[in-house]
Homo-oligomer: 281 residues x 2
């Protein structure tokens, strides 16, 4: 049966682009928000859902991390990396000097911050739910507008390309995760994502947790903190580790950590992305 792959729509988003690379044969199901993508997978309407997690310039997509922490019991089954190319689009006939408002997803606006400040210092920046939605809003805008989006949405929506490569930095890549109801079996070259926090604010415990991995030679590839939402200065830590949660050594380390912390959640184990090739299996 063809895989049903949920993504943040409409057609033309970067998430759709990486979903097509991930599984060219999948049936693509667009959803209007990331919580809706998660709900689609959770309820069985879709087999997998693709969600942006981190950008090389802007950092984590914090709302999606918070969804994993607080609102979803799905597993991470794959990670995928997409090089991002932002274009500045307009309606045919709009001149760049007329542009008064620039629409895009807040992450994309952030990735083009210096460019926009230099070239459009007086334009209003307007947040859209996705880069594709930005193109739609640009096209229905009453005032001269532009949108930051990708090549595919320029083609899909018949938009005029005012400028290419408008991102502030050429090293612009986004890491996505594929959410599913089960994580991935071991492949020998895996990563595991977890989160945890402590009942009491004890910095020494964080050091001890990191020691549980360090003394076993387990590499941390990422450490990140998010607010608990309970009070300022209390955090949930998100850690990515090399290895699969079923590897005996990592399993032992995870058990040691679990005994010391209050909240403990394994987001899943999945094949590690290898640079310059989109990981698939």
């Amino acid at each position: 049966m063809t895989k049903r792959l949920a993504f943040l729509g409409p057609a033309g988003t970067n998430t759709e682009q990486i979903a097509i690379v991930h599984d060219p044969d999948a049936t693509l199901l667009p959803f209007p928000s990331v919580p809706a993508v998660a709900a689609a997978v959770d309820s069985g309407m879709a087999d997998e859902g693709v969600v942006a997690i981190e950008n090389s310039l802007e950092g984590s997509v914090t709302s999606n991390l918070d969804l994993l922490i607080h609102e979803s019991n799905l597993f991470i089954r794959h990670e995928l990396v997409l090089p991002i190319q932002h274009l500045l689009l307009s309606k045919p006939g709009t001149k760049s000097e007329e542009v008064r408002v620039v629409y895009s997803h807040p992450q994309a606006l952030g990735q083009c911050r210096s460019y926009l400040a230099k070239c459009f210092p007086d334009a209003q920046l307007a947040a859209s739910l996705s880069t594709s939605a930005a193109v739609e809003e640009m096209q229905s805008s009453d005032v001269p507008a532009a949108a930051i989006a990708n090549q595919r949405s320029a083609e899909l929506y018949g938009a005029h390309i005012l400028a290419r490569h408008v991102q502030d930095d050429p090293n612009n890549e986004t890491r996505f995760v594929v959410l599913a109801r089960e994580d991935h079996p071991p492949t020998g070259k895996d990563k595991t994502s977890i989160c945890f926090n402590f009942e009491h604010d004890a910095a020494g415990i964080l050091y001890s947790v990191m020691g549980a991995f360090a003394k076993r030679g387990i590499n941390l590839t990422k450490i990140e903190s998010r607010p608990t939402r309970e009070s300022l200065g209390r955090y949930i830590f998100l850690v990515d580790l090399e290895g699969h949660r079923e590897d005996p050594v990592l399993k032992e380390a995870l058990d040691e950590v679990k005994a010391q912390v209050s909240l403990f959640k394994v987001f899943g184990s999945y094949p590690m992305h290898v640079s310059s090739a989109v990981s698939k299996s």
Copy 2:
């Protein structure tokens, strides 16, 4: 001489509100962006600048962290905490069921995400440069609009209050830092903020750095990572520590860390905020 205090304007922002609490006698200087606030202090146009750094629900204000890391040589001289109360404002006469667009600063939109999804599922969310700018945009909007902003801007702009307490969580506080050309002398109850990264991606070094503080009994109050902007998966770590950088023990630990890392920057030492009282000196 009266202190000249730069803040993210226009009048009515939460940053202005905390600036007034910080120094009721100061001359307040509004600037259109946080980089402009930093430049005003750097160039001597202002003595201090107030900048939001972290919210208890949304987490770090990452663009302001990145400014500290990459673009500013200013010091953190104080930290301040403001309880946030968001109101939903409109033009007099606009009914809530007519609202088609909701303006606010992206952090404020994020802090009201659930409320907006429930009560205004079809409204467009539009990012403004500040909560005050959101009120201005709401007032000049052609379509029925609302803005999320504070009590002070409702009064300043003569806006109608559609709803109060629209934030998703009552535990909504924002931590601000006061930037200056020098940090604060020791008071006996201080914090120090630093950032660092490593030439090579070596998770073991992070553990060793944390050990330099742990073995001396120095508490970490925060650990956070930001992208280096060079490639995906490479991070700059931001750490807040208890103590002043001139304390002999902390000084020794910082020297030990400095020897192991590549980038190393001390953002400054400043009096620690004590709950339920805005720290000042």
